[in-house]
Symmetry: C2
Subunit: 491 residues, 2 copies
């Protein structure tokens, strides 16, 4: 396995692009901006899905499925929604092909034009609230706590595998509530679910906070987010949870009879994470040798490689390896025993490094004699010879250690790359170096935010929940400020 991976220091962006391809995660397809998620990449996504789905269900949500298409007129119903969104999208105008009269394959049948164009969903608030209208009459029908796993399409001009693609996979939760308080509580609850998932499973520390008005989801009263820091010092928005107020209920006329017998509009939230998380996962932990996967999301957690000469040695080693594999699997650990004779051990080592398998076990003839085994960690690239006895317990504990230490490493990186600045010169100096999160005072105005963005490309990633109240002056305008916000260069 020759890697030939560009190093991060040489060209981080190229390193990422190459890694996604070389580790067999995804590739570009024949359709502009649409990716093919390859089996290894999809296996990671399935683990992400399974865990999130579990957490959604534990918090009382159910899955459903709504149409891929949205009638064009629906997009105009919520004024801010259409203003901030939904312009770059795939438009279905016809419903039939026909044989080319000139004999060249197929052409669109001009007689099969749709009366109203259909938009491939860029997000589903409109079609879902149009549906909820029929589901909700009284407070007894509330809350509705639906999620859907789906594909969505946004016709992005500049695409990058996982980070920004025309079609991507995601989940979108859409909930309906009788009161403002309940909807706000739901919004925060789901943000916390995302944060917990990011930290415990992706092993990525995140800042929880609220977006500035400028960065809000089109149609939301408040957008909450989790923001992560990548190794190149750029920020990545890893999930959002929106408090939609009564905007969509009003747009689609969804009213309910309250307990008191009055009529009121329903309160809404929506929240989503996407295959973009794959990009975050790759960029947060991986190194110049390839992927580094947190054990909890690694499709294969342990690989066993035999080191042998001849069939007899292989047979003896294989017997031992299978025994260890069975013991590990009994503990719920996924294990691959790679006894292919078409590749040398060194090639295999490099391959599993590239693929980010957290723990590699190697067994040679001398190990058999001495009852030892070589245990290698992908994250630290260290290895150690250990006794085979109770190796399954050792490996189980090691996987937990790796999960924790990967997180710790990312947290240390973020701590080291979070700076507090008090004037615009310092601000610009740090932002130019793309050196992580910059905590600065801001006067709260969209105007200032826009000017800073124009001049430095930095955006307000969020107003963090845990920012202490602290009187200060805006680094740009000198206006008053009550707390620092997080600036950064975003993906």
């Amino acid at each position: 396995m020759s890697k030939g991976l560009t190093s991060r220091s040489e060209n981080y962006s190229q390193w990422y692009n190459e890694l996604v391809i070389k580790a067999d995660l995804a590739e570009n397809s024949a359709v502009r901006g649409c990716m093919v998620i390859k089996p290894y990449g999809y296996a990671i996504w399935e683990k992400i899905q399974a865990q999130l789905d579990k957490m959604f269900k534990e918090t009382g949500h159910v899955n459903a499925y709504f149409p891929l298409f949205i009638p064009k007129s629906f997009l105009s119903k919520e004024a801010e929604h259409v203003e901030g969104f939904a312009k770059e999208c795939a438009v279905v105008t016809h419903h039939r092909l026909m044989n080319d009269p000139n004999g060249k394959g197929v052409v669109v049948d001009p007689s099969a034009k749709l009366e109203e164009e259909l938009i491939v969903r860029p997000t589903s608030e409109t079609i879902i609230w149009n549906t909820y209208k029929n589901w909700i009459q009284s407070y007894r029908d509330l809350p509705i706590l639906c999620n859907q796993w789906a594909n969505v399409v946004r016709w992005e001009m500049r695409t990058r595998l996982f980070l920004r693609t025309a079609e991507f996979l995601w989940q979108e939760g859409h909930t309906a509530h009788a009161t403002r308080e309940e909807a706000e509580e739901e919004t925060i609850k789901m943000l916390n679910v995302y944060a917990e998932f990011a930290e415990k499973f992706l092993a990525i520390p995140v800042v929880k906070g609220v977006k500035s008005a400028n960065e809000r989801f089109a149609g939301a009263l408040d957008t909450y987010c989790i923001e992560a820091l990548m190794q190149d010092g750029k920020a990545l928005q890893a999930g959002t949870s929106h408090f939609l107020g009564q905007n969509f209920a009003k747009a689609f006329d969804v009213q309910f009879a309250t307990k008191e017998g009055a009529l009121d509009y329903v309160w809404a939230t929506s929240w989503g994470v996407s295959t973009r998380l794959m990009g975050a996962l790759i960029m947060a932990h991986s190194d110049d040798n390839g992927l580094v996967l947190p054990p909890k999301l690694a499709p294969t957690q342990v690989v066993i490689v035999p080191i042998y000469k001849g069939a007899e040695q292989l047979e003896a080693i294989s017997a031992k390896a299978r025994e260890i594999k069975a013991k590990l699997e009994n503990l719920g650990i996924s294990v691959k025993y790679d006894d292919r004779d078409t590749q040398k051990p060194g090639w295999k080592f490099a391959e599993y490094e590239l693929k980010g398998v957290p723990v590699r076990l190697a067994i040679g003839p001398r190990d058999l004699e001495q009852g030892t085994i070589e245990v290698a960690r992908r994250d630290t690239l260290t290895k150690e010879t250990m006794t085979m006895e109770n190796i399954e317990i050792v490996v189980k504990n090691l996987l937990e250690t790796i999960q924790n230490e990967i997180y710790k490493k990312a947290l240390d990186f973020r701590t080291a790359n979070t700076v507090t600045v008090d004037n615009y010169e310092d601000f610009k100096k740090h932002i130019e170096k793309q050196s992580g999160f910059v905590l600065a005072h801001w006067d709260g105005s969209t105007e200032t935010e826009e000017k800073i963005k124009q001049e430095t490309k930095a955006t307000i990633r969020c107003i963090p929940f845990d920012a202490p109240e602290e009187e200060g002056v805006c680094v740009y305008s000198g206006g008053v400020s009550q707390r620092r916000v997080v600036f950064g260069i975003a993906y």
Copy 2:
């Protein structure tokens, strides 16, 4: 819970349509032909998915994801494929909306016309084989055993919830092999997986067989299928597995270096089942009181309803009910305890009948005194008072019994509704009554098949694998025949 369900004998078709709505499985959406799968329906689909996915993985398959869109030109590459398919489909022609210059919402931006139209996938052979071209160089890259769970769109003119919708959910397996034998073996293997799933989980007996040339998938050399019989005597194709030969490899120029160093085209299969299985599940078992679900696919397997007067009784009953619930859950059984005080027990009984919950337990004050519990079966609508002791074991066994007996009932129905006929008069008589599967000799010609279809609407459902060799004469033409085939009126 007032059902007001039309009876099957009165109007089977209406019974089905009403049941899908009243049992909260699915509904029509604002988009013509596209359905909303409601949480209860989706929960059943999730169980179907989970089990099939497990079976696919156990047979060595992996999941991946390919683009939603297919460039129009791809559809012309495999001549038979485009001929038999892909005409009624959703065509994306533009990639941007803009504000209406007249101020009326949004319109399609005429300047954002795509150079080549994109088709929303009706099936993915073409885009996948275009992708496989880059994955396959040598026999070492084979086999490829990919599956994808996805949505697909076929612009059907007449739609019915689950049975035929413009957008539906499915899985499509696409495999690539070095030899014809291996691909043929895969085709049959997956047909067997489908048949096993249908019989053991859906509890629907199926006939396995091969389609006549006329009913073959466009582009396949052979299409195998499983055919099920519904309670109205109509046949439903529940899954197909296609041996595609080298057709798609040739169309997309996918060649590989063989072990011997020659170049050859790759052999292909594809196979799929869809949300149509939901339709089969509903129609095969349900009755005039509502859904009957096989326990293995029921989202809730057991419901416990308290019968009480006053808070004190409820408290005592609830304590016992929760105890039983915990014991059942320990055995892996999904249980709902419905202690809502907004509805009466009778209403709840009717609701869970409608929803097809396999077992209902009811506990009243006298039960508490006597240590008894009422156990009701949804499939037979029978009930029995039993001792509470070891009730969890009794219920666990009962769920297995129900699973088996539902299957047995469907099998008995099919046996009673399968007739052997030897002349065209009898053939027509049975087909007119829509009385199930009709086994008849056929001369093997497409011409005869077409004529029979025109005259009677009956189609050859399949040439069954288990049909004994039996000399005979075609009921229509009098031509020679070696075995009987299955005719029926199909959904």
